[in-house]
Structures are given as structure tokens and as C-alpha cells.
């Protein structure tokens, strides 16, 4: 029990906060409190997702939790002296986080608890609404649970946007001695960190979502496939799994309901392509992460040849709230066929970078300029890459595009996993096109020739354009090559690498066509 006389101070343990000094701040707070003989209890939380304010420290006061940020270890003594334990004013005072415009504009369903609770406290999780979704699923049974997920309109948050309920129904209807739930937490896209934030900030939410999925389709085993690039997230998730097993929230008889579900964490080894669901399954089986041809669908022949639900982490972490508050509640958010909320991740050269969960339908311009505040460098925005390294580059002239799966697709762009990377006017788009090809060459699993060879040839063609050789002919060649890759590759790596390349050529032709001409604007790095 927490002593009533002690003030609780919440300091994130999210790796993004650690990267900018959160541990040093926590040590300074403990030392200063000891020096002042003031009783404080430091609670380490996930991140609220306001990364430009990290490390953001929250103090529990009679006014509610009052945030201060970005706090450095050197600021701690002055914050105590100013009286932050009672929420006093100070240049770093942010105020109540919920009142901050960045959070006040959001609809947090998937991320309702992240940054607020102690991620490794089952009591905190339950007090904040946790395990109400599973209780509901147990009450209504598997078929009604699948029905609720279908009615909610939830679509796969990994990028493909396939309706989650339909996938579940396929697995539920399949007959097999063993079925599996696999969570794709191989969040390799640049500009994305939502999976990581859940793993670090609300791991029980994923455990509950996967348990519900297991109940819904009749699977008794699940695997979370995470990345080696996320050592902190994996440590937190492992600890959460141990706690859940000890608390009877995983195992043979969950919550005394007779429900059986076993869950394990597996970690990849730096291969981007393993984020593709069939390569991921190969990797889970201990093989090279080489893409499988579909059909057969993983829903019928997945892990070890058994029916398998492969869902993105964000889809699974959204399941508890759908069961708890109802399918209709969730479906009432959004637009068109994009129902519910999307955790958008604003990253790169952006003033207010972070996690922004909102109903579908805001325009790209509102998100980048109003929510994100434009660039961090305070130069004009030139391009936004939406949906990771395989996503298109969009110019400000397309900022009227609504954030919606179909509206993006109509403009040859992807929502993907919800990442938006902002670039200012110093970016060289031909260089970015080359990087897309180079990345594909580096990460190709080697199965399809257009991806394996095409990406290397593509990088060479861009090099010739960069050198100003036969520019028009080489651009035509590059476009042709992109077409071959798009239609001749099994998975999204080879199939979507053309999106960033072609969008760069289409929207920023001046970076390709007029390379050695006099008066060409040089990127800042070359000035």
C-alpha cells in the first residue's frame, strides 16, 4: 500500500524517454527527495506519447496529475524548490496532461491506459478497466465474440487493412487439433512506435486481447513475435507474461472459467521482411524468414501448418475495448469503411512528434500542420512519407487527403501501420528514392527475382540519374522496373517499394529531371 503522506511521481520508463534522460531524472528525483526528507513514491509508467516533452514527469496533486517537461536531471532541484509537489508553476509546467491540446484532441481507446498506469501492475490494469473485455467474451462465448469484432469494423492495423472479424471467423470455422494466435509485433517501419509503446506501457492489454482471440477461435496457444531492436519492450513483455502466468491470467484455467491459453514471446533477429505474415511464420518455426506463396492462407494453414490468426499488435490490443464497450461504440468512430480509431505516429522532422490516436477522417494536413505543428527545424514541410519505408511520399498539395484507407489508396498511398514521417525542404527526394531501393535490396528475402535483383538494379539506375546520365531514359527505365516489381513480387516488400520511388518521381520531378542544371536548389547539407 502507498503511504497516504507520500506524493506519487510518475516518470516514464518508455525507451524514448530513457533515450533522452528519464533514468537520470528518476535518480535525481529520488536523491533530491531524500536530501529534503520528503516522502515520494516514484512510479515508472509507459509514455503518454508527447515525445517532444519527454522526459515528461507527472506529480500527483490535489489538482490531479500535473505534468512537467521536458525535465532534465539538472532541473530537478529547482522543480522541488518551486513546489512542484503541489503542482506549482514553473517554466517546465505543462499542466494537466488531459487538458493539453495534443491529448485533448485525441480519442484514446487502444491507448487509454498507456502512460498512466504502472505497466507491470495487474491491479492498476484491472482498476483502469482491464479484463472487463475478457469477462464479457467468456460470458457471450466464442461465436458472439467473433461477431462483435466483425461488427466493430476493426481492420488489420498492420497495413493491409483486412477485416479482423472475417479472419477470425475463417480460423474459428477451420477444424484442427491445434490452432494458434500470432501477434505481429515486428514493427519495422521507420516512423512507427505504437506497438513498442503498448509492449512497454500496457502489456496486459495485449495479453488480454490475445486471450480473447484464443477463446473466440478455439486456439490454446499464442506467440508474440517481436524485434531484437526493442530490447526494453521485450524485457517488459517477458516480465508481464510471468506476472500473468503467476496471477492465473494465462494457463489452463483462466479466471476460473476453464479457458486455456498459453502465450510466449519470440524475438526476431533484424530481418525487416519477417514483418510480412508468412515470413514471420517461417521465422517462428525457426527457419529463414522467406515469404510463402498464398494460398494457402495462414488462417487455414499457418504456423506448423495449422489454422492461425496472424494479427498486428494494435489490432489485438484494440480487442479488449471493443468487447468491453461494445462493437457499436467502436464502430461509431471513423468514416466510410475505416471504422474506429487509428493510433497515428508522428515522427521525423516534426515539432510535436508522438502518438496521436484519433478517429479516421482528419486530413493529412490537419494532422501534420495542426497537430504536429509543422517541422521541428521550422523550415517548410516538403514531403510526408506515410506508412513506413514502403509508403508513398506525399507533397503539401495532397494535404487535403482524409486519413482513411480508401482515400489514401485512391492517391496511390498507404496508411500502413500509421506512421507519418515529416521532411523539410532540405530533403533530396532522389536520394530518398535511392534509399528505398537500397533498403529493399538489403532486406529482400530473395525468393522473388523482381525484388531480389530489381532493387539492386533500381539503386543503380537512381545512381545514374543522380549523376545526370541519360536522365529521361533512366527515369523511364526506373518506372518500368517499378512496374515489374509491383506486379512480380509475392509480398509487400518488393510489391510496395515502388510506392516511395514512383511517388518521389511523380510529386518531386525537379529532384530527378534537372539534376546538374545550373541554379538547382541544393539540399542544405551541400550548401
Amino acid at each position: 500500500m502507498v503511504d497516504a503522506m507520500t506524493t506519487r511521481i510518475f516518470i516514464p520508463r518508455d525507451v524514448a524517454a530513457l533515450a533522452v534522460g528519464a533514468d537520470e531524472v528518476a535518480r535525481a528525483v529520488a536523491a533530491q527527495a531524500a536530501a529534503l526528507s520528503t516522502a515520494v513514491t516514484i512510479v515508472r509508467t509507459g509514455s503518454r506519447g508527447l515525445f517532444w516533452l519527454e522526459p515528461m514527469v507527472e506529480v500527483e496533486t490535489p489538482l490531479g496529475r500535473i505534468a512537467y517537461g521536458p525535465v532534465q536531471a539538472g532541473d530537478v532541484a529547482a522543480l522541488f524548490a518551486a513546489g512542484w509537489l503541489t503542482g506549482a508553476t514553473h517554466p517546465l509546467r505543462v499542466g494537466r496532461p488531459e487538458d493539453h491540446p495534443f491529448l485533448a484532441r485525441q480519442t484514446r481507446l487502444t491507448f487509454a491506459r498507456c502512460g498512466i498506469v504502472d505497466p507491470l501492475s495487474v491491479e492498476d490494469y484491472k482498476a483502469a478497466g482491464g479484463y472487463r473485455g475478457l469477462a464479457k467474451a467468456i460470458e457471450v462465448g466464442g461465436a458472439a465474440t467473433v461477431e462483435a469484432v466483425t461488427k466493430s469494423g476493426l481492420r488489420g492495423r498492420g497495413g493491409a487493412g483486412f477485416p479482423t472479424g472475417i479472419k477470425w471467423k475463417t480460423v474459428r470455422d477451420a477444424v484442427a487439433d491445434q490452432k494458434y494466435i500470432v501477434c505481429n509485433a515486428d514493427e519495422g517501419d521507420s516512423g512507427t512506435f505504437a506497438d513498442r509503446m503498448i509492449l512497454e506501457g500496457d502489456p496486459f492489454c495485449l495479453i488480454e486481447g490475445m486471450t480473447i482471440a484464443g477463446l473466440a477461435v478455439g486456439a490454446t496457444r499464442g506467440y508474440i513475435y517481436s524485434r531484437s531492436e526493442y530490447p526494453h519492450a521485450n524485457a517488459t513483455m517477458r516480465a508481464a507474461l510471468d506476472i500473468a502466468r503467476a496471477a492465473g491470467l494465462l494457463g489452463r484455467d483462466i479466471l476460473g472459467s476453464g479457458l486455456e491459453f498459453h502465450l510466449e514471446l519470440r524475438v526476431g533477429a533484424g530481418a525487416y521482411v519477417c514483418g510480412e505474415e508468412t515470413a514471420l511464420l517461417e521465422s517462428l518455426e525457426g527457419k529463414r524468414g522467406v515469404v510463402r506463396a498464398k494460398p494457402p492462407l495462414p488462417a487455414l494453414k499457418g504456423l506448423f501448418g495449422r489454422p492461425t490468426v496472424v494479427n498486428n499488435l494494435l489490432s489485438l490490443a484494440t480487442i479488449p475495448v471493443i468487447l468491453d464497450l461494445g462493437a457499436q461504440y467502436y464502430a461509431d468512430f471513423g468514416m466510410g469503411r475505416s471504422r474506429g480509431t487509428m493510433p497515428i505516429q508522428l515522427a521525423g522532422n516534426v515539432l510535436h512528434g508522438g502518438l496521436f490516436e484519433t478517429a479516421f477522417g482528419l486530413t493529412l494536413g490537419e494532422i501534420v500542420m495542426e497537430v504536429g505543428g509543422g517541422t521541428a527545424s521550422r523550415r517548410p514541410v516538403r514531403a510526408v512519407q506515410a506508412g513506413g519505408p514502403l509508403g508513398a511520399y506525399l507533397p503539401p498539395s495532397q494535404f487535403d487527403t482524409p486519413y482513411d484507407y480508401e482515400a489514401f489508396a485512391a492517391r496511390d498511398a498507404l496508411i500502413g501501420h500509421g506512421g507519418l514521417v515529416v521532411f523539410d525542404d532540405t530533403v533530396d527526394m532522389a536520394h530518398m528514392a535511392r534509399f528505398a531501393m537500397e533498403f529493399c535490396a538489403e532486406e529482400s528475402c530473395g525468393k522473388c527475382t523482381p525484388c531480389r535483383i530489381g532493387s539492386t538494379r533500381g539503386a543503380e539506375v537512381v545512381d545514374r540519374i543522380l549523376a545526370g546520365r541519360d536522365v529521361a531514359a533512366n527515369i523511364a527505365l526506373l518506372e518500368d522496373l517499378c512496374n515489374t516489381m509491383k506486379f512480380g513480387s509475392l509480398c509487400a516488400l518488393g510489391g510496395f517499394t515502388p510506392y516511395p520511388v514512383l511517388s518521389a518521381i511523380r510529386h518531386f520531378p525537379e529532384d530527378f529531371h534537372t539534376r546538374n542544371s545550373p541554379g538547382r536548389r541544393l539540399p542544405a547539407a551541400a550548401e
Binding site: 524514448a16 515525445f51 521507420s190 533484424g270 525457426g286 529463414r288 522532422n349 512528434g353
Partner: protein, 136 residues
């Protein structure tokens, strides 16, 4: 894969001698095991330097000058990606996204995350690693 991770954690790389042992234990061919070790970027076939600096090369970090930052560090150390300094102290490896994209450019030095890097902060961190002869 968990076995390979454990080997790399213990030895700093996956020794060639381990391949036939693994193949035997798992009832696989040596080619199968070699294929898996060589497929994944993480598994090294030779030991790295005493300290490993993983610099993010992905787009979000590039948008904040990560490319220039990385090139200038490599140039000053006289290394290419994956190279180790002559004293065996520091290896510089590329990484594609640490999920620190809103605090770019980012790096992971011996597992310690660093964000909002500039040349001074990165140099200080790398120098600290170079001058620290203890095992991380």
C-alpha cells in the same frame, strides 16, 4: 532462433564450430543451420568490438540529419558500416528503426538508447565507450 540468440549473447557471435553441434542436436543439416545464421542481420559470424554502436539509418532519423551524422562519424573513425576500430573497442552497425522516431536521430550503444542526437552528444557517447575498457 532462441538458441542462436543465446549463443550470440554468450559469445558475442555465433561461432562456426557451433553450427555442426546445432545441426546434430536439432536434426537439421549443417547447410540449414548456416542458412539461418546467415539470413538474419543480427547474427555475427565473427566477434564485434568491445562496444557496439547501432546507428539508425531509417527515414525518420534521416529527416533529422541522421545520414550526415552517421557518415561523419564513420569518416572520423575511418570505418565502413559494420567495421571495428583498430583497437577493437568500437563497432558501428546500421539498424533500421529503433522505434525512437519522434526523438530522432537515434542510436543504441551497448543496449543503451540515445535520442535527439547531434554530433557533440554522439561523439561524447562514442568516446565514453572507447575509453571504457571494461566489458559492457
Amino acid at each position: 532462433m532462441p538458441i542462436l540468440h543465446a549463443l550470440q549473447e554468450t559469445f558475442g557471435h555465433v561461432p562456426e564450430d557451433a553450427v555442426p553441434l546445432l545441426a546434430d542436436a536439432l536434426n537439421l543439416s549443417r547447410a540449414d543451420v548456416h542458412g539461418i545464421v546467415s539470413f538474419y542481420h543480427d547474427f555475427r559470424e565473427a566477434p564485434a568490438g568491445r562496444h557496439v554502436v547501432k546507428l539508425c539509418r531509417a527515414e525518420a532519423c534521416q529527416s533529422m540529419g541522421g545520414h550526415t551524422l552517421a557518415e561523419s562519424l564513420l569518416r572520423r573513425l575511418g570505418l565502413d558500416w559494420g567495421g571495428t576500430t583498430g583497437d577493437g573497442q568500437v563497432t558501428i552497425e546500421p539498424v533500421y528503426c529503433l522505434g525512437l522516431c519522434a526523438c530522432a536521430p537515434a542510436a543504441l550503444i551497448d543496449g543503451r538508447p540515445l535520442g535527439r542526437l547531434n554530433r557533440e552528444r554522439l561523439d561524447a557517447a562514442v568516446n565514453e565507450a572507447r575509453n571504457d575498457w571494461s566489458t559492457p
